[in-house]
């Protein structure tokens, strides 16, 4: 599933980041790498952007839905 379909408040593991090189590079430099864990924290109203926390560094990043749809994730197993 992609990030827009993922549940909120659960640890998610990034499986892959699709999309163009520009967007990918931007996400990589902000700390979104395949294998890393992230969590959806909040979202804007009216299909607004997603607020995503990178579990390991604790950084928060706001991501528009168009871009979030390019981040493929699965629910992370292990202790929550």
């Amino acid at each position: 599933m992609n990030l827009t379909q993922a549940p909120q408040g659960v640890r998610l593991k990034i499986v892959d980041i699709s999309g163009g090189e520009q967007v990918c590079r931007r996400l990589l430099s902000l700390g979104f790498h395949a294998g890393d864990e992230i969590e959806r924290v909040s979202q804007g109203i009216l299909r607004g952007p997603l607020l995503v926390k990178i579990v390991r560094s604790g950084c928060s990043v706001a991501i528009g839905r168009g871009i979030a749809a390019k981040i493929l994730v699965e629910v992370a197993d292990g202790p929550q």
């Binding site: 990918c24 430099s29 607004g48 990043v61 706001a62 528009g64």
Partner: protein
């Protein structure tokens, strides 16, 4: 650049890691700071004397990596690559060390002498992260100095390390990547002919050639060295096949893993401890429902606070000036001298009594909002609405800056990645009421007609920007790439920083805007005494009197409005020959509204026009001017019909 032989020291780091705060702590306050990634969009240069040695220090825009994505980041890289600094001070946010080190690793690859300033160690401690800076220094091979720039901690130690490294040259370690990737890089590096290193050294050149298909030295490679091109393509293909991902991702993953490893080896993270108030407060501010309520309350109280502070002060300060005017009239009669003295008085009085009572509280509240870190959060909340007007949340920051002054707002569009977004945002910014216009709106509209009128004007203004954005984005077919915006941690603003920011802005008002205003008023007085204003008014009368239904005497103020929009409004009194007390006897409430609307939009002020020209080109500057004039005429005519 200053021609001298003092060594160049550059400050570089990821966005919002506190480079500018650190720079200010060293250079005395010079650079703008705030808690929003991308506040610095151009370099700030300063000469400082440290321990008897003169250094050129340069504060650069933040960059996440050495592969630039937006124009502000490109500024950083130009300095780094072309000017070969004598020392790099890499500022690192200790609270997100793992990610910040990725840039550090890239800088190490460049083999420049370097000192790491491990900043925001207090914030890291709050998050439960303790960094062993000595261990980190051993791992990287360069000095690591813990600092808290906001409180001036660690600055002295940083000075000492800087001086030591300038003499002793602190080069970092060669940190190796995974075997197979390292092998490919070395192979390519060794096959580079002598003197080919287009950036820094052979290994770094090889990495950049592999990582980026669009690097400048790759583009001509086919022609100048076909063999090298072949081996480069071979290396790229090999890596992609082995790792099953695009080659730039392979390199990024290598740096990512290495920096995570260094982070884990040098830091202790206590788990389970929540960050307390920050996290709870963030939960409220960014809440999908409550967040919008809070946003609304923040802006409403922003507005009313400024008005409540400003209007009693205005009343108080206007009194002596009104009295003085009567004295002048009695003493000087109605001749040339009176008109010039009156102009002088209007100019000085307008500044003291009308602008300052609102301007200072506005700057104060703006600075607090910026430093707390609310702007990025507003960007997140407003992204949805920005999409409706063809933009996204990252443009919120230039827009909000625009409420301060349009000029830095247009410069700050450099944080946007795509040209389409930059142009669209730059075209909309001149319609945002800047602090000078807000002051006038508060001092004239709210003061004479009541705060609700001013608030209504503001709401209508925001609506206008939205409609305009929607219309303009119809002409810009290319889709916006979408929002990726880092949300910085909430911070308690330091009063010192806040006061300093107010000082910086007031200084530029007193040195630049006020003299212009006084001069404008004196010139208007002069023109009036010679009755030249009648000619100008006659020319503009079809527009001013016929279309807008205003007293034709106001025509002359529009000429001055091109210098600064608020001049037109401030000079209204002088042009009408009215005092502060009897203004409403010469102009009706409706006329005042129509005039305010027209003046607010009718043309970008001279500095805005100049910066538009510089940032986006002549065409955009003229498009913007044309757009402003047509919008002003149409909207104020509509307002005239409606009220």
């Amino acid at each position: 650049m200053v021609p001298n032989n003092a060594p160049f020291v550059i400050f570089i780091g990821q966005p919002n890691c506190g480079k500018s705060t650190l720079f200010n702590a060293i250079a005395g306050h010079k650079a703008q700071t705030s808690n929003f990634p991308g506040t610095t969009v151009k370099h700030t240069h300063s000469k400082v004397n440290i321990g008897g040695r003169v250094l050129n220090i340069i504060d650069l825009p933040g960059t996440y990596s050495l592969s630039p994505a937006d124009p502000a980041e490109k500024v950083a890289l130009t300095h780094l690559f072309q000017e070969t600094p004598d020392l790099v001070v890499n500022v690192v946010d200790a609270s997100i060390l793992g990610r910040s080190l990725e840039l550090t690793l890239e800088l190490l690859e460049m083999e420049l002498p370097m000192v790491v300033a491990l900043n925001m160690t207090d914030l890291a401690e709050n998050k439960g992260i303790t960094v062993d800076f000595q261990k980190l220094s051993a791992l990287l091979g360069v000095p690591v100095i813990p600092t808290i720039a906001r409180r001036g901690k660690g600055i002295q130690e940083l000075f000492e390390a800087t001086l030591k490294c300038l003499d002793g040259k602190c080069f970092g370690k060669h940190l190796k990547w995974s075997g197979d990737v390292e092998e490919e890089i070395q192979r390519l590096g060794e096959s580079l002919p002598e003197g080919f290193s287009c950036v820094a050294n052979k290994r770094f050149t090889a990495i950049k050639m592999i990582e980026s298909g669009h690097l400048f030295c790759n583009e001509f490679l086919e022609d100048i060295n076909p063999d090298l091109k072949k081996s480069l393509d071979g290396v790229r293909a090999n890596l992609e096949r082995k790792r099953r991902m695009p080659v730039y991702e392979v390199i990024a993953a290598e740096r990512h893993h290495l920096s995570q490893k260094i982070f884990e080896e040098s830091s202790r993270v206590r788990r389970g401890k929540a960050i307390g108030w920050q996290e709870r407060l963030d939960g409220l501010i960014m809440h999908p429902v409550l967040g919008y309520g809070i946003l609304f309350i923040v802006f409403l109280s922003f507005f009313f606070l400024i008005f409540k502070v400003g209007s009693p002060l205005e009343t108080l300060l206007l009194k002596p000036f009104t009295g003085l005017k009567a004295v002048l009239a009695a003493k000087l009669g109605g001749g040339l001298l009176f008109h010039i003295a009156d102009g002088l008085l209007q100019g000085i009085g307008g500044g003291v009594a009308i602008v300052l009572p609102y301007f200072i509280p506005l700057l104060f509240l703006m600075a607090i909002l910026e430093d707390v870190g609310y702007l990025a959060r507003a960007g997140f909340l407003l992204d949805t609405f920005m999409h409706r007007i063809g933009l996204h949340g990252k443009s919120v920051s230039p827009f909000i800056l625009g409420f301060g002054c349009n000029v830095p707002a247009i410069v700050s569009t450099r944080i946007l990645e795509s040209r389409r977004d930059r142009i669209l945002t730059s075209l909309l910014i001149p319609f945002i009421p800047c602090s000078a216009r807000t002051t006038i709106i508060l001092a004239l509209v709210a003061f004479y007609l009541g705060p609700l009128w001013a608030l209504g004007f503001y709401a209508a203004n925001v609506l206008l920007v939205a409609v305009l954005g929607r219309v303009l984005s119809l002409f810009m077919k290319e889709a916006s790439p979408g929002l990726i915006l880092e949300i910085p941690s909430l911070k308690i603003p330091s009063l010192k920083d806040v006061f300093f920011k107010i000082y910086l802005q007031l200084k530029s008002f007193v040195l630049f805007a006020w003299p212009l205003f006084v001069a404008g008023s004196v010139i208007l007085g002069f023109i009036q005494s010679l009755h030249w204003d009648r000619a100008i008014n006659a020319v503009l009368s079809p527009l001013v009197a016929n279309v807008l239904g205003l007293p034709r005497e106001l025509g002359v103020t529009l000429v001055f409005g091109f210098l600064r929009k608020e001049l037109s409004l401030l000079m209204m009194l002088q042009a009408l020959g009215a005092g502060y007390q009897n203004l409403l006897s010469v102009i009706s409430r409706d006329q005042m509204i129509v005039f305010t609307v027209f003046v607010s939009f009718f043309i970008p002020c001279l500095s805005t026009f100049a910066i538009l020209w510089k940032e986006s080109g002549k065409k955009i500057a003229f498009v913007s001017a044309g757009l402003s004039i047509s919008v002003a005429v149409i909207v104020s005519f509509l307002v005239r019909l409606l009220i």
